[in-house]
Amino acid sequence: MAKLELLQSINAHKGIVWNVSWHPNGNIFASCGEDKVINLWSKENQGWAVKTMLVDGHQRTIREVAWSPCGNFLASASFDGTTAIWDKKSGQFECNATLEGHENEVKSVAWSPSGQLLATCGRDKSVWVWEVAGDDEYVCEAVLNAHNQDVKKVVWHPSLEVLASASYDNTVKIYKEDQLDSDWNCVATLESHETTVWSLTFDKTGERLATCSADNTVKIWKEYKPNNELGVSVSKESSWKCICTLSGYHTRTIYDIAWCHHSGLIATASGDDIIRIFKEAEDSDQDAPTFDLICKKYDAHSQDVNCVKWNPTANNELVSCSDDGQIKIWKFLDE
């Protein structure tokens, strides 16, 4: 039987905890929420404890935090319209750069795999790509207006400079930089969800993407290149096709989804207070895969689960956070 064992439960923030982010070393994670505070947690003998509190960085809710791949920088996106970049060059964490440009709420921030680019998105319907230009210097590379509604989430491909965004307009968009004129363009639109797409996650190869929505479904998408074996027609350089829909499992909005790059397991965070774990079947067809629900943690939190993240060090630890003000650390066990 597969199960999620609770390792620790923390009263982490006052009010909603919106997001958590693992440091690349897996020994620290950051959290943020309605209380406008960023907490940095580290593993002590007695369990996870708050090591640093970053206050006064933002005037309104902090919606998302993201560690850079090198682990030296932390980015925070806020409803106050700004994105702050924190580092501890001075010995303690300080905000040394603020990215301004969005008209209102910034809802998501993500570092590219090289750490050279940063993406943000927000209610102004735009996605911004920023380049790290030097010490504490960030230059806007592109403003992408492909969506026609609120953009909820931005996520980078695990190894390439390919960006994906999820929106209130029910679609997911994929962007790449054109090698000839170095312009960023939307190269694909993924349409199939019936309402808001809240989050998305690439598998470890980056060839597949899992999305989650307020339509209570998870969808798995695959990228097809020209002249693929299946004969899927491809416009431009590649096409993304929905190859699997997981419906009938969730009873309310699915706010977040995380595809573990080590185990291949998919975890979901839902407004029905449940964390679910899906596993691809062993004989799964690559072009029409089968995923089984192998674990369902009822009452994982006492209110909506907003975010789930797998520890990057392959120890099967999962961290989750909720409207109830709590963060929980879980261990996935498959016995």
Binding site: R60, T61, D150, Y168
Partner: protein, 154 residues
């Protein structure tokens, strides 16, 4: 001053107060929320444009409240006085805020326009169902002041 969308709405009589029964006063009794109690929480919210309550305008009605205690679900349908009412989102937001403030956090609250009663029904419902947009709206002081005016008399 802006003229109200519906300058001359139909006004209906208020219902009577809930009768307090003997079992209501029994502290030992497990007392679940019922339809009437949910209605009582929202009936006296003021309309943003008229000095009238949502009950008097029949924007909210007891029969449009659904409660499922076992699954912690509350569903409220509200009926704008006219199909192109520009205040529909604000009214829905006031109902939602009032319920979130009054009910235990275990409840999942859904507030929607009664089917077929508003031209932008789908858009209004989608906005009211998006908790992130609600959270952001509730950090807007001007909007919170207006909502507090609407729920003040409750």
């Amino acid at each position: 001053m802006k003229v109200a969308d519906n300058v001359n709405p139909n006004v209906y009589e208020k219902g009577s107060l809930r009768e307090v029964t003997k079992s209501d006063l029994d502290e030992e009794l497990k007392d679940d929320f019922d339809q009437r109690e949910i209605f009582d929480i929202i009936r006296n919210i003021s309309d943003p444009e008229h000095p009238l309550t949502l009950e008097e305008l029949r924007v909210v009605e007891e029969s449009n409240v659904i409660i499922d205690n076992e699954n912690n679900l509350v569903h409220v349908y509200f009926t704008p006085t006219i199909p192109h009412c520009s205040m529909a989102t604000l009214i829905g937001l006031s109902i939602r805020v009032q319920l979130l403030r009054a009910l235990p956090s275990r409840f999942k609250v859904t507030v929607e326009v009664t089917e077929g009663t508003h031209v932008s029904e789908h858009a209004v419902n989608k906005q009211l169902a998006d908790k992130e947009r609600i959270a952001a709206a509730l950090e807007n002081n001007n909007l919170v002041q207006i909502i507090n005016q609407c729920v003040r008399s409750v």
